[in-house]
């Protein structure tokens, strides 16, 4: 019995020594070594796809988002009364999920699609809109970005303020961008009356080429959906709301 106990103790010591040694021999890599590896691997487009997928997954893992479903009709009603459109649009999908403004700023801060170089046709406005929708929807795990196409116009000065007028004189051209929705309440005056409409969400236009978001005017452009161009929403996900 004593002999067996001594033998077991010896085996345990041997195993401990072996495992300890193995741990010591395991490679450890630094952040700097990892960055060097990323720089080299990313010369291959297949690796770039893997690295970008992994990057988006890391962002996704670092955050938990509370989402609220907003149906398309409510969004359309708010957009109409805030003058977000010039004429008819085609729309697809049923609605979109809203996030808090704070969460939206986190998502926007973590994504760098705005650093991609603009190349006419090959990487232009509609591509940026796809990039942002593709990346942000994946990070949040629900459709949160509205792919929006329509028109951009020059704002006009009216009573000391910039205003948007749906007139071809001010048309800059067709454009693609995004809309995002936050869960902040907003009060809007119904067009053509003094009646107040209350919404428990707020729609923003978001320009994915420069990360700026706002009302219908961002910078020196009026963002107006319409012109018979599509607006693409998302579908409600089962068990999706928190």
């Amino acid at each position: 019995m004593k002999l067996l106990s001594a033998l077991l103790s010896l085996i345990r010591k041997l195993l401990n020594w072996l495992f300890h040694k193995e741990e010591e021999e395991k490679p450890q890599y630094t952040k700097e070594q990892f960055i060097e590896a990323v720089k080299e691997l990313s010369n291959d487009p297949v690796w770039r796809a893997r690295i970008l997928r992994d990057t988006l997954t890391k962002i996704k893992e670092q955050h938990t988002f509370n989402v609220k479903w907003i149906d398309k009709d409510s969004i359309t009603q708010q957009c109409m009364n805030r003058g977000f459109g010039c004429g008819a649009s085609f729309s697809f999908g049923d609605g979109i999920y809203a996030l808090s403004l704070k969460d939206w700023i986190k998502v926007i801060d973590s994504l760098l699609q705005d650093t991609i170089t603009y190349v006419k046709d090959l990487t232009d406005c509609d591509n940026y809109a796809t990039f942002f929708k593709g990346f942000a929807d994946y990070i949040v795990g629900k459709p949160v970005v509205i792919y929006t196409t329509g028109l951009v116009l020059r704002p006009v000065e009216y009573q000391g303020h910039k205003s948007c007028v749906c007139k071809s004189d001010y048309l800059i051209g067709g454009h693609g961008w995004n809309r995002i929705v936050t869960n902040e309440p907003i009060e809007v005056e119904r067009v053509g009356s003094t009646e107040k409409l209350h919404f428990d969400f707020t729609v923003y236009n978001y320009e994915p080429q420069n990360d700026k978001f706002g009302d219908r005017i961002i910078g020196n452009w009026c963002y107006q959906s319409g012109g018979g161009l599509p607006i693409i929403y998302g579908k409600k996900v089962e068990g999706g709301e928190v």
């Binding site: 490679p27 590896a37 690295i51 890391k58 090959l122």
Partner: protein, 163 residues
């Protein structure tokens, strides 16, 4: 091996915002040469001869072609790239990754209905697809949200946005 460094750090490393940004920067603005460029009329002709896009039984068939020129990507390269992202389950994300890491506007996102025994079913399916060169032939490869390739006779596409 740098692949080992990458895999080890992905498993064990920490990722702050700075690192996340560096990783994205390294993925963007590195171009792939297109096999060729086609104009919107050539794209329109391809769509018109592809049964997935021109099935007349659909109530609506809308294709938005936003640019005057489109890039065609090598099919084997595209398949290798899609294999890296096939578990994502989101057609917008797949299209966004393929286009952002290649710099090619070769893709579209759309929606359609599944076909069963040649009949249109109620099952809606979101799709993305890409203009590819396969042995000298320019054609469109379509994937569903599970990155499964869907061929003619399996899906009809009601709307598609070529960006």
């Amino acid at each position: 091996m740098i692949e080992d460094v990458y895999s080890w750090y992905m498993e064990n490393g920490t990722f702050d915002l700075e690192l996340i940004k560096i990783m994205q920067i390294e993925c963007f603005n590195k171009k792939v040469e297109p096999v060729k460029i086609i104009n919107y009329e050539q794209l329109h002709n391809i769509l018109s001869s592809d049964k997935r896009f021109n099935d007349e039984r659909l109530a609506y068939r809308w294709w938005w072609i936003f640019d005057s020129d489109y890039a065609v990507i090598d099919k084997s390269l595209l398949v290798d790239i899609v294999n890296q992202v096939k578990d994502i389950g989101n057609v917008w994300t797949i299209a966004a990754i393929v286009q952002s890491v290649t710099g090619l506007n070769c893709g579209f996102v759309g929606s359609g209905r599944l076909l069963k025994s040649g009949e249109i079913t109620d099952k809606e399916v979101e799709v993305c697809g890409f203009l590819v060169n396969d042995g000298g032939v320019t054609e469109i490869v379509v994937f569903d949200e599970n990155s499964k390739e869907v061929k003619e006779g399996e899906v009809v596409i009601g709307f598609a946005v070529f960006d």
